[in-house]
């Protein structure tokens, strides 16, 4: 075994930046020593075991996923593209409050609220999100916007294939983000469920659409948002 003395000085680090005084050499007596055992090189036989490691590895199952052909499912709670959800009767959950835009630190979300009028009821209550944009060049998928949303309108999907070839294409509009209309829903704008107000909606008391609200979507055509 090769022994070697390494010197470590226990002088405070702040001293090392100060200009040296003439008497600094006195400190040499305070130097403490750490004995470090250095193992010499391993024997040639031991070293050549490495060749066996690489040879053995050749017959191991390789772990690569053939990505474009095979898409491995993400974890359930993977942060992917956002989605703007709907109430069970098809009305949008977003109320245009902009809390998501305020929550995000780098200004990826732009929201403009709009009034719900009797002829144009997009979401329950007074307001809806008229313009909703998420800039995926800025989004860091932190999920703070999801936490901020008071109506659970904004959630995240597991979709991760978001690459594109221009900056414009990566600003997603409301149409790109809205959840698809499912069977049993009615395409908004339409009036709220009979005898219910927005509070019933928020408590989850609206379970389905009513025929009085409009033509009920049967799910035969591919789910279109608008």
């Amino acid at each position: 075994m090769h022994q070697q003395r390494l010197t470590l000085q226990e002088a405070p680090m702040s001293n090392s930046l100060e200009p040296k005084k003439s008497g600094a050499a006195k400190d040499i007596n305070d130097v403490s020593y750490v004995e470090v055992e250095q193992p010499g090189p391993a024997s040639l036989g031991k070293q050549s075991l490495g060749f066996w490691v690489t040879f053995k590895t050749m017959f191991k199952k390789n772990l690569s996923v053939q990505y474009p052909d095979v898409k491995a499912p993400t974890e359930e709670r993977f942060h992917g593209r956002h989605q703007l959800n709907r109430h069970p009767d098809g009305l949008e959950k977003c109320i245009g409050c902009e809390l998501c835009a305020w929550a995000f630190p780098a200004d990826a979300i732009y929201v403009e609220g709009g009034n719900n009028t009797p002829g144009n009821q997009v979401s329950p209550g007074e307001r809806h999100g008229a313009v909703y944009q998420i800039n995926y060049l800025r989004c860091i998928f932190c999920g703070l916007c999801v936490e901020a949303c008071p109506t659970r309108a904004l959630t995240m999907t597991n979709e991760y294939e978001l690459a594109d070839d221009s900056r414009e294409k990566l600003i997603f509009e409301k149409e790109d983000l809205l959840a698809p209309l499912r069977a049993g829903m009615v395409m908004p704008p339409h009036p709220m469920y009979p005898d219910m107000d927005e509070n019933n909606y928020y408590r989850g008391e609206v379970k389905s659409a009513d025929p009085s609200q409009g033509p009920i979507f049967d799910g035969t055509t591919a789910g279109e948002a608008k």
């Binding site: 090392s16 590895t57 690569s64």
Partner: protein
């Protein structure tokens, strides 16, 4: 008829066909070995390697080659243009030429002519290979010099120094083969191995040859001429497009050429594995080509295996290893082989020869044990109270500290 006589009877068109075959086989092997290398090294790292272009990614190398050829061909403003263009041509030409003397098959019939698959058989065939390999160095050193840039120059110097020093060890390791088979012609050397392969008889030579052939071809772990972390790409940093492809081709053909030479000199060339000698007559002798390329691929696999397992050597360690270990070792080994040969030829009995060999083994063992002991002595820890005998960097708060300072004794003197 001997091989030399068979080849001498070749008509002109057959020589042309053979020359063309050498070229085609080398280029095809290069494409395959680029693919093979990437696949094997990938498997060693638990990756699949290229597997998208063609079945199993077999055409990947061809696709890369086409892409490379279609790229823009740049010549740096500071380059010496003529030499810059000539250098890759020298490198690529030299590597193909060494393949001319490699016997790929035994006697076969090609288009009604009895011949062997070997372009030419000169009495100093192996020396010719070494000479051509030295010419190939010009390609490297001229490329480095003519680029007019620092990194290529350093890389070119490194690889030329490397190739030259390992060529010495390589040449010395071949001397034992010459002594043993009594010829320098490749076909005679293969012929002399029909009973015992040289790898058994001359194992130390084989080991030295294999090590120096890796050094000679600038391959990992001896690829310090192309050390990406230090020299960008080495001598071919400034090259692009087809000129770079030529260097790339030269590197792989060189690997194949040294593997083929190793096969010829140590693994019995086109001879079948021991016990399978009857296969040599199959297909009118053409089956020997399978054995030959199997052996070449074995060496190629060793190249890949080394690359997958070993880190790159430091330049000084590499040079030290070549000059201070490989060359003395092969000189000693040549002396032993030559003495044994002389003893045998002077009609001494087998016992005398054996006793001589045993005596040498005992002497070598004794020397090495003494050497080991002195090495252990040198490694002993320093006695208490003595500073290490090497300069240390300046420590914070210490104005001067050097080897002579007995620093850690509590009552030490100040300087």
């Amino acid at each position: 008829m001997t091989t030399a006589q068979l080849i001498a009877n070749d008509p002109g068109w057959l020589i042309t066909v053979k020359g063309l075959l050498v070229f085609i086989v080398c280029v095809l092997l290069t494409l395959m070995s680029v693919w093979g290398e990437r696949r094997i090294v990938a498997r060693m790292q638990e990756r699949p390697g290229p597997n998208r272009v063609g079945p199993f990614g077999l055409i990947q190398a061809l696709a890369d080659g086409v892409k490379l050829a279609l790229k823009e061909d740049l010549i740096p403003a500071a380059a010496d243009k003529i030499v810059f263009v000539i250098a890759p041509i020298i490198a690529a030409t030299a590597c193909f030429m060494s393949f001319a003397v490699i016997p790929v098959t035994g006697p076969v019939t090609l288009f009604g002519h009895k011949t062997v698959m070997q372009l030419t058989d000169i009495p100093v065939g192996v020396l010719y290979v070494l000479a051509i390999a030295s010419v190939g160095v010009y390609g490297i050193v001229l490329a480095g010099w003519s680029s007019g840039s620092t990194y290529p120059l350093l890389g070119g110097l490194r690889s030329s120094a490397q190739v030259i020093s390992y060529e010495v060890a390589m040449g010395l390791s071949l001397v034992a083969v010459f002594i043993y088979s009594g010829s320098m012609s490749t076909s005679d050397i293969v012929g002399a191995q029909n009973k015992w392969w040289n790898v058994v008889v001359l194992f130390p030579s084989f080991v030295i040859y294999v090590i120096s052939m890796v050094g000679e071809t600038n391959r990992a772990p001896f690829d310090l001429a192309e050390a990406e972390g230090e020299l960008v790409g080495g001598f071919h940093t400034e090259y692009s497009s087809l000129k770079f492809a030529l260097f790339f081709l030269a590197e792989y053909v060189n690997i194949i050429a040294v593997s083929a030479l190793a096969t010829t000199l140590f693994l019995g060339g086109y001879h079948a594995l021991p016990g399978l000698g009857f296969t040599e007559a199959w297909l009118g002798g053409w089956f020997t080509i399978v054995w030959f390329f199997l052996k070449v691929n074995f060496f190629f696999f060793i190249f890949m295996w080394l690359r997958g397992s070993l880190p790159r050597l430091r330049y000084d360690q590499f040079m030290k290893f070549g000059w201070k270990v490989l060359i003395p070792a092969s000189l000693l080994w040549i002396m032993i082989v030559a003495s044994l040969r002389v003893i045998q030829q002077n009609g001494a009995s087998r016992t005398v020869a054996l006793a001589f060999a045993l005596g040498i083994v005992i002497i070598v063992m004794a020397i090495s044990s003494v050497f080991e002991k002195s090495k252990k002595e040198a490694r002993k820890p320093l006695p208490e109270g003595e500073a290490p005998n090497f300069p240390l960097p300046q420590l914070p708060g210490v104005s001067s500290f050097n080897a002579s300072t007995k620093a850690h004794t509590s009552g030490g003197t100040n300087e």
